[in-house]
Symmetry: none
Subunit: 203 residues, 4 copies
DNA sequence: TATGAATGAGGATTCATTCAT
DNA sequence: AATGAATGAATCCTCATTCAT
């Protein structure tokens, strides 16, 4: 009895099981049989819904990127000022949800593959470009073009660096700390890079 | 043929071949036979000098960390002031040598393993702690403890983030750009965090 | 092709091929690929049904012990007296089926492993204990406890020794000879160990 | 400096190390490097003194057989009567020295190979034939030919069976018990098989 | 839609053997 | 006489993929 509409359910089950497996078994020991067992399904199911293992891994990374993007878009929608938009980008990328062990293991593993997997590289590139675009757009409302570019580049690096240090440390990270450092960085940079005109007004 | 003194030569050959293989074939497709073929040796040689594949990978990551550490120590030795020491840390971690395709592939791959390989995690942790210690020590000569800690954390994150963005991008990165952003960050942070007393003196 | 009920068939095929390989190639040269080739199956099938080579070897030895035990139980079921039960134990352990070249090679090989393989040791121990228990039980119906113990120990040794000499000889053994020696031994021992009361009656 | 007369010393060292390795690592895990390491020598030495691994194993089994034969010959030399010669054969084959864990592991392992190694089979056959010859010779001084043959066959089986049960059991065996059973068997058999003439004398 | 039996290629590992010194 | 570096064949195991049902 071919149940209708199983596809999204099954895909979701398998993607979740993949993330769990990458975390628990490690990327190198993540196997189709391990994933399907975890999902309570048979091993053949992967070919059915994702063609092959590469397809499942790609879908998994895409899901991570989409979840993150969704969070970011929601926060941006609620942000009322350019400053708030920049803060939202920090808060989305360094949200608690990005620091769960499963998510950290998964992202770190995928990054380790990116240089040798064009499909994964593409997902990574698209997400990155969108975030840079958001950053730059907001920054340009506050700073001259060159300064805006510097701020965007600096913020992106800072966000990535903060996340990665915690992901590598393997300990229970405190996301709030990371966000605080990033917000502090943003404040200082904005103040330092703010147009002279604004500075002069203060005097 | 028990030629004496072959050990360091063979180990070096195999480690170099491992780095080359990770870059060219990808970490997942890096095999003992591929490595040994690249080194012009037989596959059994790996067991002879490193026990097993894990031992070779561990030695390879250690070599990367040691090379980097050596560069850092050399630059620190030539630095005459705390500010110069902080700059040296930037320059070592973001040196041109850290942006060759081989080195980027290798580090990124190892980072992808760190959460599931205690030996690799240890290498990573030791290097990281030393760098943080260097950063903190220099920062404390310029700033009050709390500010020094913030600066050190921020700089470490900025350095990692800048490096990683370029490693992930896969394009031919411009190390000098990364260094410039980092030095800019350092300058602004130092100015912003400098003790009020010093600021007041300037006025 | 998930044909149902293949498991017992496949397991049997592989176990039979293992016995054949031990006989023809020798235990040391018995390989998974040799076994599976003989069974007309692929090498991966062993992992599928027995996890690994050790599992297959264990199952093979267990099958030998179970076949032997089954023979013994059948003969015991048909034995009407204690004497007949003792004779049945001889006839089962020294049955023609125990002297085929394949069976002799297999048992001898497994015995050579027993001291270094706990799972094989366990199979061996369980079979041995059951046989000793059967022997002792029958002997106690005929003799005083101490004599019964001696008879049981002696018979077990005699049976093992007779079998093993022929297994080691490598020639075409005559099972009937072995059984005759064992039955002769049993008769003499019973007569010699019989309770004095019975002896006294004769005088 | 080619030391003279090293050959017997080295051969002995390697044979002893082989026995130790068979006991501790198991026959299947007995390797040339393991043996030579245990002997405090290099792995190449085996080729030097025994050509190859098979040669070393053969020499090792031969040594076991020769030690046993030597014990037997010594005891026979001290035996003053046919009965004493039969007892000596029991005592030599079931001497304490034959029940050390190392010796039991080694014999059992070699027996497991005998059916697939002509050289080992030959050593085994020669020892066995000599012992049978000794048994038969002594028995014929006491019994008519047919009875002598039966006694010899029975004694050989009994001796082998008693030894093997203990070797298989893996526990700490009590050699004295085995010898007592064998001597008991001998006594009963001699009494039962003794020529009628002798019997008549008793009446 | 879903299963899981079966395959067979791929790869890490082990190890006897060779041989220059 | 002795070493131990180096080889490469052999083998076990893993696992993605296929496919009949």
């Amino acid at each position: 009895m071919p149940k209708l509409g199983m596809q999204p359910i099954r895909r979701r089950q398998l993607i979740d099981a993949t993330i769990a497996s990458i975390h628990e078994d490690g990327f190198a020991h993540t196997t189709i049989s391990g994933i399907s067992r975890r999902a309570g399904l048979s091993s053949g199911i992967v070919a059915h819904y994702f063609d092959d293992k590469a397809g499942l891994l790609e879908a998994t990374m895409r899901k991570l990127a989409e979840d993150l993007r969704r969070q970011l878009v929601e926060r941006l929608a609620r942000a009322g000022s350019p400053e708030a938009r920049l803060a939202a980008i920090i808060d989305a990328n360094l949200a608690d949800a990005q620091f769960t062990p499963e998510i950290m293991s998964a992202w770190l593993s995928f990054w380790g593959q990116v240089r040798h997997s064009p499909p994964l590289a593409r997902i990574q590139r698209v997400y990155r470009q969108r975030m840079m675009s958001d950053l730059l757009h907001a920054a340009k409302l506050l700073l001259p073009p060159e300064s805006a570019r510097r701020l965007a580049a600096g913020m992106a690096a800072m966000i990535d660096g903060l996340w990665m240090q915690r992901a590598l440390a393997g300990e229970r990270a405190k996301p709030a700390d990371a966000r605080a450092v990033a917000h502090g960085y943003l404040a200082i940079q904005l103040a330092a890079l703010a147009p002279p005109a604004a500075n002069g007004a203060e005097t």
